[in-house]
């Protein structure tokens, strides 16, 4: 790909995101660079499988009505995805400065989106407030689908909800109860009868791995 203008947005754990001008549009370019400290085969496998997975899942969950950036182009061998650039702010940053009412609304919406995905047996794999972007119209977009999976079982959905809860605990500790409550409301609204099994599994998962 020939990029005319490139601006570094974030250096994440496994990717670098640039804001680029391409085809007369402002887009986001996500690149998964090599990690020299990993075994070469693991490095190669992860970069390819996650790039491919992310494209598929971003596109698929969009058809369910979950706002995600549209994928414009992919270059699997160079581990690149060109997608919509969402003008807005990370939910994580917003949560620290917004009113309680606004956070409650956003969490409710966040929960609904996860519920919609879970109803179609999709898990996000890293549902934190870092991976939700709030645009200028206060709409939530989900991003970072490199760990997402299809054909999800109750166990996988339970892990998703466990991760979400922990993200609130570690990052939004002063508001965690309120945030969790509204998220769960939204989640249960969308996933109905399935919610109970998933949420009780999430509690069970929380207790595992502990030193008993």
């Amino acid at each position: 790909m020939q990029i005319l203008k490139k601006q570094l947005l974030t250096l994440g754990a496994e990717s670098v995101i640039y804001k680029v001008e391409y085809w007369g549009m402002t887009l986001a370019l996500k690149w998964r660079p090599s990690k020299p400290y990993l075994h070469n085969e693991i490095d190669k496998l992860l970069r390819i499988s996650r790039t491919s997975r992310e494209c598929k899942m971003l596109t698929f969950v969009r058809t369910l009505g979950v706002p995600t950036p549209a994928v414009h182009a992919v270059d699997i061998s160079n581990h690149l995805i060109l997608m919509d650039f969402i003008e807005g702010q990370q939910f994580k940053q917003l949560a620290d400065v917004s009113s309680k009412k606004r956070i409650t609304t956003l969490c409710h919406e966040f929960g609904e989106l996860l519920g919609i995905m879970h109803m179609s047996d999709i898990v996000h794999g890293d549902p934190t407030t870092s991976n939700a972007v709030v645009d200028t119209q206060s709409k939530i977009w989900l991003v970072d689908f490199g760990l997402a999976e299809k054909n999800a079982t109750i166990e996988m959905k339970g892990v998703d909800m466990h991760l979400l809860r922990r993200a609130y605990e570690t990052t939004h500790w002063t508001l965690q109860e309120t945030m969790l409550e509204s998220t769960m409301e939204g989640y249960i609204e969308r996933s109905g009868d399935n919610a109970e099994a998933v949420l009780s599994r999430a509690d069970e998962i929380r207790e595992r791995g502990r030193y008993h």
Binding site: A13, K35, L38, H39, V159, L163, T170, W173, R208
Partner: protein
């Protein structure tokens, strides 16, 4: 005035006694690890080990520090998390000593102690800590007055996975060092389940897959090599996620598995990529030992913490994030 604290550690396989001064000087640090000829660690046998070895270890710790009982100002003990029988045995010794010497008693969280002794040694102020041992695999960082677990294993601890695999191929507990040794001769990489979920990870699938490779007569060296590369690669990823998420610029590696050189090298790579400082806690302070309990006991006591004997029950399931870390409020 300098204050001396005697710290007793006994949450699992090891019993240790260490003496540390309030200036952060480790005067002595004696421990002994139960290493059964075959099988793993049985809580009952481990607690018996502690009660058999404990008094002798405490005595040696005082001798090596060159102090007598009457020089001790404070007794700290590992209150949890850990194996119930082991914790109770250790707590009984700590209570007896505190009463006999008429000094205050402090109950220390084992995981917090690992972090604090690492900070003492490295001079780090506010690190992302990778704590990996036989019982724990956690990525911890300080936030909002507590040490919070950003990521952890969803099933077995990294050290536990290494031990159990080692046991199936006839290695003695702890198997980590033997696996590291064997891995040095590994050449071919066999793919194993790479299971990272957010900042959490899972090792049980890898254990099953590795056992299967062994049944298929894949050379032990290659299996050990593949386990290390995959298991440590996963840990590197969650460490990296924690660093990117918290924006902290120090990475501390501690716990028994911190002794592994390959793991250290991988995490050094992570630190380099994010421009962070890295420190691996030195072997005598990385495993389970009393000095870390003593030092954390001092920090806790200086922040006004003291545990009445009547309330000093052990807490086998004490989570890292359940304790207010009063002495770190400046962050």
């Amino acid at each position: 005035m300098s204050l001396l604290c005697l710290g007793l550690e006994g949450t699992a396989h090891s019993f240790g006694a260490g003496i540390v001064s309030s200036e952060g000087k480790v005067l002595s640090n004696i421990w002994h690890m139960l290493s059964p000829v075959e099988g793993g660690i049985h809580p009952r046998e481990a607690s018996r080990h502690h009660s058999d070895m404990g008094p002798g270890i405490i005595k040696r710790s005082l001798e090596e520090a060159g102090v007598s009982h009457s020089d001790i100002h404070l007794v700290a003990f590992s209150r949890g998390p850990g194996l119930g029988p082991c914790l109770r045995t250790t707590a009984t010794m700590a209570r007896t000593l505190a009463q006999k010497l008429s000094v205050p008693l402090v109950g220390v969280n084992h995981c917090v102690a690992h972090i604090e002794i690492g900070c003492l040694e490295s001079g780090f102020e506010d690190p992302v800590t990778i704590y990996v041992s036989g019982g724990n695999t956690q990525v911890i960082a300080f936030a909002g007055g507590r040490f919070r677990t950003f990521g952890e294993t969803l099933d077995m601890a990294l050290g536990n996975m290494l031990d159990v695999f080692g046991r199936t191929i006839g290695m003695r507990f702890p198997a980590g060092p033997s696996i590291e040794h064997a891995a040095a001769d590994g050449v071919e990489y066999h793919q194993l389940p790479y299971s990272v979920k957010g900042m959490d990870l899972s090792y049980s699938g890898m254990l099953t897959a590795a056992k299967k490779l062994h049944l298929e007569r894949v050379p032990v060296a290659d299996i050990c090599f593949s386990i290390q590369e995959t298991a440590f690669g996963m840990l590197a990823e969650v460490a990296e996620r924690a660093v990117a998420h918290t924006k902290k610029n120090e990475i501390l590696l501690t716990g028994g598995v911190a002794r592994n050189n390959r793991l250290t090298k991988i995490l050094e790579g992570v630190a380099e990529r994010h421009g962070s400082s890295f420190h691996r806690v030195s072997p005598p302070l990385a495993g389970d030992q009393g000095a870390m309990i003593a030092w954390t006991g001092i920090l806790q006591h200086q922040a006004g913490d003291e545990l009445p004997i009547s309330d000093s029950h052990v807490m086998p399931k004490w989570r890292t994030d359940e304790q207010d870390i009063l002495w770190r409020c400046r962050f």
